[in-house]
């Protein structure tokens, strides 16, 4: 394990690491220091400022939020490593062992722990919490839309609900597979003892963690009235809640950059001996392409957020036409990130399902190379399609045609993914266990999401459908139908390795059918309303759309009940489920060769790979 073995030979071990400062820091001290930094900044900056001026309010709030994040990291001990490096006293082997959580039981989940398995579980709990919060907001949105008249919440609250639901779910879905499985499972899959940068790994999680209360604070600051896209100049003019959005994205972009560098380096540099590129499990390939795409994509989003923050705090004018700014600048920067981000979300989920399919049909993955070509093609083209989100904005109409072509062309590598999955299933005898259900659900859901996307990429059709519920239904079929379905399949598949117990089959089945039936009722109804012309992001609607909306809301409740059932199944199974054998699915990848609990350094002896991971039905070569 890298954390344990790279201590300089000449570094002096401290007599007893249990007396070191590192041992006294945890989530609680992080929160205390974070709150002190936050309130200290707030009161210090507020003093002597005219707080009736919105620029000053924004300045004070943004600085306080960023200082909360910084203070938390100081308080949990995340900066001890860099500080010790600075003064030339590197962490000792004992201290690194302590940071890895050795022998600390449940406490390590609340500490700055560098063990990738702990970080994976932290991500899993964090993602589930975010999905729960985002899902609750979705229920509130659908309840409001059940009947015309916006009886449940007022339009301002509705706007905030839509914005917060959107950004919460986007963040959750970006990390839903690469967070838990990319951290817990992936290093074991490639035969590594740990991630390349264990301390950065823990940092990426705890930085992200600090964004959660910041985003929640938006509720108490008047909400986010802009939707998750936060278009300028609306976001320039929005109330104090917008600061929470900006701070969240800036913090999240930092976390993503760190996590992306870490995962990419781990896969490139730490694969087991014999694991040539054509022997790397497809989930690892997918997760790596996803994070490698995120590394250059998210900084553009961060720049857009920083520019908005500057407009709001120090009165620059990036998006104010009076002083030479333009909302089109924001739209470009946002969507240069925004469309690749869809694939950052999607690819790991699909890759997880490609990992599952061969195991449960006992056939090799059909055309491993086509799968890689599909992922790479999607990633490459995704940076050339951003302006299809801006057809109707009036920006460069002459480019609508070329962007239409590139967008439609992206369906070719996407088709390869279908080809690989269907080819794998073809004439197989599927073992219909819980993870396998997600493979079939994905094929149905993503087919609908993908085909409706082709309509939307078409400029004339988009002219009519743009800004309607049709678009909302399309991207939910894409993101939820592919990424979330893939992640749930992945959870069912890797649950035994992450918890040592099998996921409750009955609860899983009930959840699966409630979610899938509800999901299709919900969003097919939404397609109907959208095709008839119902605009999105509006709290009320004409009676013409009443039936479609009522159907959608019934579907939403079914999804909600299904997700609660899944939550129950997860908690119940983790606490008292059937104890899992080491390799319950008879899979061939390396994570199934280690016992549960997985040893600190994963493998007693580093493995040497001698065959491909999908050699079902043929002898090893």
């Amino acid at each position: 394990m890298t954390t344990l073995t790279h201590a300089p030979a000449s570094s002096r071990p401290i007599p007893n690491p249990k007396k070191s400062l590192i041992t006294r820091l945890h989530m609680g001290t992080g929160m205390v220091v974070g709150i002190i930094f936050c309130w200290g900044t707030y009161f210090a900056m507020k003093a002597g400022r005219d707080m009736t001026d919105s620029h000053n309010v924004n300045k004070v709030l943004l600085a306080s939020m960023m200082m909360w994040s910084f203070g938390f990291l100081v308080g949990i001990g995340a900066l001890i490593g860099p500080f010790r490096w600075l003064i030339g006293k590197d962490l000792t082997a004992e201290e690194q062992l302590y940071l890895a959580g050795d022998g600390q039981g449940v406490k390590r989940y609340f500490k700055y722990c560098t063990d990738h398995k702990v970080v994976g579980i932290q991500y899993l709990v964090g993602v589930m919490t975010m999905l729960g919060a985002g899902g609750t907001m979705a229920m509130m949105i659908r309840t409001n839309l059940a009947t015309p008249g916006s009886h449940f919440v007022n339009p301002n609250v509705y706007n905030s609900l839509v914005g917060l639901h959107g950004i919460t779910m986007i963040i959750a879905l970006i990390i839903v597979s690469t967070g838990p499985f990319g951290n817990y499972i992936m290093p074991i899959m490639i035969g590594a003892a740990d991630m390349a940068f264990p301390r950065l790994n823990a940092l990426s999680w705890w930085v992200l963690f600090t964004a959660i209360p910041v985003l929640c604070s938006a509720w108490f600051l008047g909400g986010i009235p802009t939707g998750w896209t936060a278009y300028a100049p609306l976001s320039d003019q929005a109330g104090p809640g917008m600061n929470a959005f900006l701070a969240t994205i800036i913090i999240f972009a930092l976390s993503t950059a760190v996590a992306g560098a870490n995962i990419t380096t781990t896969v490139i540099a730490m694969r087991a001996k014999g694991m040539k590129w054509n022997r790397v499990p497809i989930f690892v390939i997918g997760a790596t392409i996803s994070v490698a795409l995120a590394v250059p994509a998210f900084p553009t989003f961060m720049v857009a957020m920083i520019q908005t923050a500057m407009d709001r705090t120090i009165a620059t004018g990036f998006y104010d036409p009076n002083v030479g700014g333009s909302g089109w600048l924001y739209a470009n920067l946002f969507w240069i990130m925004g469309h690749p981000e869809v694939y950052v979300i999607l690819i790991p989920g699909v890759a997880a399902l490609m990992e599952i399919a061969p195991v449960f049909v006992r056939k090799p993955l059909f055309s491993y190379n086509a799968a890689i070509a599909g992922f790479a093609g999607i990633a490459g083209l995704s940076i050339l399609v951003w302006a299809h989100h801006m057809y109707m904005s009036g920006w460069m109409p002459a480019l609508n045609g070329p962007f239409m072509v590139t967008t439609e062309f992206i369906s070719v590598p996407t088709g390869l993914l279908f080809l690989v999955l269907i080819g794998t299933l073809w004439r197989g005898k599927p073992w219909m266990k819980l993870p396998m259900l997600s493979v079939y659900a994905f094929i149905w859901d993503f087919l609908i999401g993908g085909i409706t996307g082709i309509y939307l990429s078409d400029v004339p059709a988009d002219n009519y459908l743009h800004g309607s519920m049709y678009v909302t239904a399309h991207f939910h079929y894409t993101l939820m139908g592919a990424a979330l379905t893939g992640a749930i399949g992945g959870l069912a598949y890797w649950f035994p390795k992450m918890t040592g117990r099998m996921l409750n089959e009955r609860g899983g089945y009930i959840s699966f059918w409630l979610v899938q039936i509800g999901f299709n009722v919900l969003f097919l109804g939404m397609f109907l309303a959208g095709a008839e012309g119902q605009p999105r992001r509006v709290a009320d609607y004409a009676h013409l759309f009443a039936h479609a909306n009522l159907i959608s809301t019934i579907g939403a409740y079914s999804v909600g009940i299904g997700m609660l059932t899944l939550l129950w199944a997860i908690i119940h199974s983790a606490r008292s489920g059937v104890v899992a054998p080491m390799n319950p699915w008879g899979a061939k990848t390396l994570e199934w060769t280690v016992p549960y609990p997985v040893p600190l350094v994963n493998f007693d002896t580093p493995p040497v790979v001698t065959s491909d991971p999908y050699g079902y039905g043929r002898s090893a070569k």
């Binding site: 300089p8 006293k89 003892a193 520019q307 500057m310 002083v323 030479g324 333009s326 040497v608």
Partner: protein, 201 residues
């Protein structure tokens, strides 16, 4: 996936760790490069759009072309000094100190520029604002330079201190010198690109 466990490699060599760390830093440089690209895109986009003729409103002063290069000079000097130190180990104590001081002076110079910006105006209520898209973009570029100076200064200070301590693994430290070299080279390139961009007024 068939595998065997005949090898017993538990400790990665400093060479291997060094290469890995260099790769990680280079990937982070890609992220920072994307940030830089977005800033330069903003600069030229708003300059060419010139919305309401307010890229550079009449009467608004700008920084001289040379001031952008002056702001980048500290980054360049630090990168050159560090490269010399990488090649001549006996001069390393001096070159790391030169790199650190160059970054501190550069940081001060950038700060001084930001404290004396010629394009801040006041609205009817007497509140300051950045007059024109040139001004907005300039302050963002200057802020990015400041960020590079700060991170570069942290790394340079670390190398100065570590270079004076005996209890450092020499092989791993040699790699860290090279990794720091990647970062210093990048921030120097970034500074020059920013200076070129800001010369287009």
């Amino acid at each position: 996936m068939a595998h065997d466990t005949e090898f017993h490699i538990h400790h990665d060599s400093p060479e291997k760790v060094g290469r890995r760390e260099r790769l990680g830093v280079r990937i982070l440089i890609v992220a920072d490069g994307s940030f830089l690209f977005s800033m330069i895109f903003s600069w030229f986009y708003l300059r060419n759009l010139n919305v309401n003729g307010a890229w550079l409103p009449k009467g608004v002063h700008t920084f001289t072309t040379s001031s952008g290069y002056m702001a980048a000079a500290g980054l360049v000097v630090a990168a050159v000094a560090h490269r010399i130190g990488e090649k001549k180990m006996e001069a390393r104590k001096i070159t790391s100190m030169v790199a650190f001081l160059a970054l501190i002076f550069g940081l001060y110079y950038q700060w001084h520029q930001m404290a004396h910006m010629p394009f801040i105006a006041q609205d009817d209520a007497g509140r300051p604002f950045y007059n024109g898209a040139y001004a907005s973009n300039w302050v963002l570029v200057a802020g990015a330079n400041m960020f590079h100076y700060l991170i570069g200064g942290f790394v340079a200070l670390g190398l100065v201190i570590r270079g004076r301590r005996a209890s450092i693994d020499p092989v791993l430290e040699e790699w860290r010198q090279r990794i720091a070299g990647s970062w210093f080279t990048w921030i120097a390139v970034s500074g020059i690109l920013c200076a070129i961009a800001t010369s287009f007024k």
